[in-house]
């Protein structure tokens, strides 16, 4: 197009010149037209994209969100070092998991109030306030993960424990006994380890190396409490 700027730093000249001193010597040999139409190539496509999500059927919208949630579930079940959970965070998955877990864990209303398992609200509060507290903790320790990303990761990593809850409920349909308890204990321990591994795979990288253990310990405590609630669940 135009003449290129003179080559920076002729090897021949030994005298040190101030930076960009040669720019004033640039001359443009021909007129470059600086008028015309500026077209943003994406624009028309964006407009059509917006209206298309407005006009698309509800099924498409829901399926798109469900597919995103499902993809993140897969990432939790097979934890690899990938950024998908962090980049496109969403809180649908944690909400679904938390509501499912709380519904399954709550005691019946007929039971006495003092001595039972947690109520729905208690489980909900523990999960969400626990996640918020751990997020605040990792931010205070100097992590570079955003608030909602951390909530997203912690919520999605409850998936193995929800699976454990389902398995425990099924196992509890059979007759009680030590084998029953052993199976449940084994399942809960395995899923607890899976949750910890999955969440630290995502969260530990965001901390400075001398504080990784400090950031991981509250996650351990959080999932331990949830596992305890699952393990001690007794149907009424």
């Amino acid at each position: 197009m135009a003449e290129a700027a003179e080559s920076p730093g002729d090897p021949g000249t030994a005298t040190p010149r101030p930076l960009f001193a040669g720019l004033s010597d640039i001359s443009i040999s021909q007129d470059i037209p600086v008028e015309g139409e500026i077209t943003i190539p994406m624009r028309s496509r964006i407009r059509e994209f917006d209206s298309s999500t407005l006009n698309e059927s509800v099924q498409n919208t829901i399926m798109r969100d469900l597919k995103a949630v499902g993809k993140k579930f897969m990432h939790v079940l097979y934890p690899r070092k990938s950024n998908t959970l962090l980049r496109d965070w969403d809180l649908w998955g944690p909400l679904i998991l938390c509501v499912t877990l709380a519904l399954m864990l709550q005691r019946g209303s007929v039971d006495s109030e003092k001595d039972g398992g947690p109520q729905f609200a208690e489980v909900f509060v523990i999960v969400w306030f626990g996640a918020v507290t751990i997020t605040l903790n990792s931010k205070l320790l100097g992590g570079n993960i955003s608030f909602f990303q951390s909530l997203c990761v912690l919520g999605y990593c409850i998936l193995p424990l929800t699976v454990a809850m389902l398995v425990c409920r099924l196992v509890l349909l059979t007759e009680p006994g030590p084998i029953n308890f052993m199976v449940r204990l084994f399942v809960v321990i395995v899923m607890f380890a899976w949750s910890i591994v999955a969440s630290t795979a995502f969260l530990a990288d965001s901390q400075p190396p001398n504080r990784k253990a400090l950031a991981v310990y509250p996650v351990f405590l959080f999932y331990f409490v949830i596992s305890w609630m699952i393990l001690t669940f007794t149907p009424q």
Partner: protein
């Protein structure tokens, strides 16, 4: 800090007092020479747990070192000066309290399970409300008592000339770390041997209260005699109340249930007693010995709306 180096082989307390008086001095701990802020309160735009983000050394070892310091109090060593070094952090106290609350609830539940194994008539239930009770009690203790203590020390500040009182965060930090020794103790209380439970409880209380007393002693010893004694005895008494509360938690949260005393109550001879001793006999983790105060066990006065026995 040549003065501190010179004093290294003498009474260590003087060096740390010097450090306390000039909190903005650079510390020469061998790793960094950044002048420290005295106390950076927790949340601002950058966000930090106290002055944690200014420490270049590994923070995991800092927290572990403080925990070790709280477990082994020594008469000459002041926890605030030697371990905190004017850089209190809130990570330790907060998560130690959370861990203690959950460990209390879990072990309380476990004692019920173990009791049911030995005595199938006891009705097992998850007893989730223990978590809320324990958590509330511990957090209130760990924050309100240091607040009261700090307020009292501030009020008496005029009497002391040599050393300023501790800041609020330092007091909270001391209390938080002093609660750490109860975590293994509560786990030890699962063993259903009553003398061992009392012994380990007394040991934990001694360690914890000793740490607090040694920390507070340099601050109150310039005060008048009655104020010092009063303060220290109140501190120890509150701590003892807390420890006793931990021991009796399972009974307190389910004291009304007469047919199923939680914990391992397995007295060999059961006799029916009247109602006033009902709560006393179901003292949580404690097992009534043969000829002790808590001999009789409540058999089962039918109360309205009892769930059926399993």
């Amino acid at each position: 800090m040549a003065a501190a180096d010179e004093l290294a082989f003498h009474e260590f307390e003087e060096a740390t007092d010097l450090l306390a008086q000039t909190p903005n001095e650079a510390t020469t701990r061998g790793d960094q020479l950044v002048p420290q802020q005295h106390v950076a309160v927790a949340v601002d735009s950058g966000g930090s747990y106290g002055a944690e983000d200014e420490v270049e050394e590994s923070d995991k070892t800092a927290v572990l070192d403080r925990i070790k310091g709280s477990l082994l109090p020594r008469p000459g060593h002041n926890f605030v000066r030697h371990h905190l070094r004017n850089r209190p952090d809130l990570y330790g106290p907060f998560w130690i309290c959370a861990t203690l609350a959950f460990v209390l609830a879990v072990t309380g539940n476990l004692t019920l399970v173990l009791a049911q194994r030995r005595d199938p008539s006891i009705h097992y239930s998850p007893q989730f409300h223990k978590v809320t009770v324990a958590g509330t009690a511990i957090y209130c203790y760990a924050w309100l008592v240091p607040l009261a203590l700090w307020g009292f020390l501030q009020w008496r500040k005029g009497v002391r000339e040599r050393m300023g009182p501790y800041t609020f965060l330092e007091t909270v930090c001391v209390y938080g770390y002093s609660l750490f020794v109860f975590i293994p103790t509560v786990v030890l209380w699962l063993i259903p041997v009553p003398w061992l439970q009392w012994l380990s409880g007394a040991l934990a209380l001694a360690l914890s209260a000793a740490g607090l007393v040694f920390t507070l002693w340099p601050v109150v010893r310039e005060d008048t005699r009655w104020a010092a004694v009063l303060l220290l005895s109140v501190v120890v008494l509150l701590h003892a109340l807390l420890a006793t509360g931990f021991l009796l938690l399972p009974a307190a949260t389910s004291g009304a249930r007469s047919t199923s005393p939680p914990g391992h109550i397995s007295a060999p001879n059961r006799t029916t007693v009247t109602a006033p001793t009902k709560v006393r006999s179901s003292l949580g983790r404690l097992e009534p010995a043969g000829v002790s105060l808590f001999q009789a066990q409540h058999k089962g006065v039918p109360l309205p709306a009892l769930p059926p026995r399993r």
